[in-house]
């Protein structure tokens, strides 16, 4: 063994706990960003096998999500980056996002997972930061702190 033994890089979590079904993570971000779809490794090789991002949304939920993200873009910047608190009603905003996530889950059913993450700009983000909507509409907390790798570790399908 060399004196300058280099520790091998830890395998990324997706190698150990692969994503088996498409997982939609809803979290608002600046730049009109609303959601991200995590797909299984063979998603591109098997067209039609899994639900695509378009399958998660109806016209109604897409419009609602767009309005919700627009509200975040308008109000959250002043609230997050200025010393004075802005006009953002974070609790109401989170509940509306959760309601949209429930509508999306009701539409997609078993074909995908829907996870709602509170924006980190929210002053209450550490409380119930990451929640998954189940098939029956109930909401479960996935982890205390947001992190996509935690989502994979806790829910092995």
């Amino acid at each position: 063994m060399s004196a300058f033994h280099v520790q091998p890089k830890a395998a990324i979590v997706t190698d150990v706990f692969p994503i088996l079904i498409p997982t939609l993570r809803i979290f608002p971000d600046f730049g009109r960003f609303a959601c991200k779809l995590d797909t299984p490794p063979d998603f591109d090789q098997c067209p039609g096998k899994y639900a695509s991002q378009a399958d998660f949304f109806t016209n109604q939920t897409a419009a609602l999500l767009d309005d919700w993200t627009l509200e975040f873009s308008k109000c959250a910047f002043a609230d997050a980056f200025s010393e004075q608190h802005g006009d953002m009603l974070w609790i109401s905003f989170d509940l509306r996002g959760l309601r949209i996530a429930k509508m999306i889950k009701r539409h997609i059913g078993d074909r995908g997972r829907v996870i709602y993450q509170k924006p980190i700009e929210s002053p209450y983000w550490k409380y119930d930061s990451t929640r998954e909507i189940l098939n029956d509409g109930s909401v479960v907390n996935l982890h205390k702190h947001p992190g996509w790798h935690n989502l994979l570790q806790l829910r092995i399908l």
Partner: protein, 82 residues
């Protein structure tokens, strides 16, 4: 620090107020926060509570429909309005 504070809004019909009460309880039970941080969060939540109540009061008035007025709800036996 009291950890058994019961908020009236915890039994509210409005889910936003219920969530605010729940968040307030979580903040009061969070021992990882300093006193200053806890005070700031609670004050912020209180300001948000009052702002939401004011917004709700203004918003609700725009959609007040005459649901109890007989003039709009009375019908004949055949289902036609008078």
């Amino acid at each position: 620090m009291k950890t058994d504070t019961q908020f009236i809004e915890a039994n509210s019909a409005d889910p936003v107020l219920r969530e605010m009460a729940r968040t307030a309880s979580r903040i009061l039970k969070d021992y990882s926060l300093t006193e200053k941080q806890r005070g700031e969060l609670i004050r912020r939540l209180q300001a948000e509570y009052h702002a939401y109540k004011a917004w709700n009061k203004q918003y609700r008035s725009y959609f007040r429909t005459p649901r109890t007025n007989e003039r709009f709800s009375r019908t004949t036996e055949g289902g036609h309005r008078d």
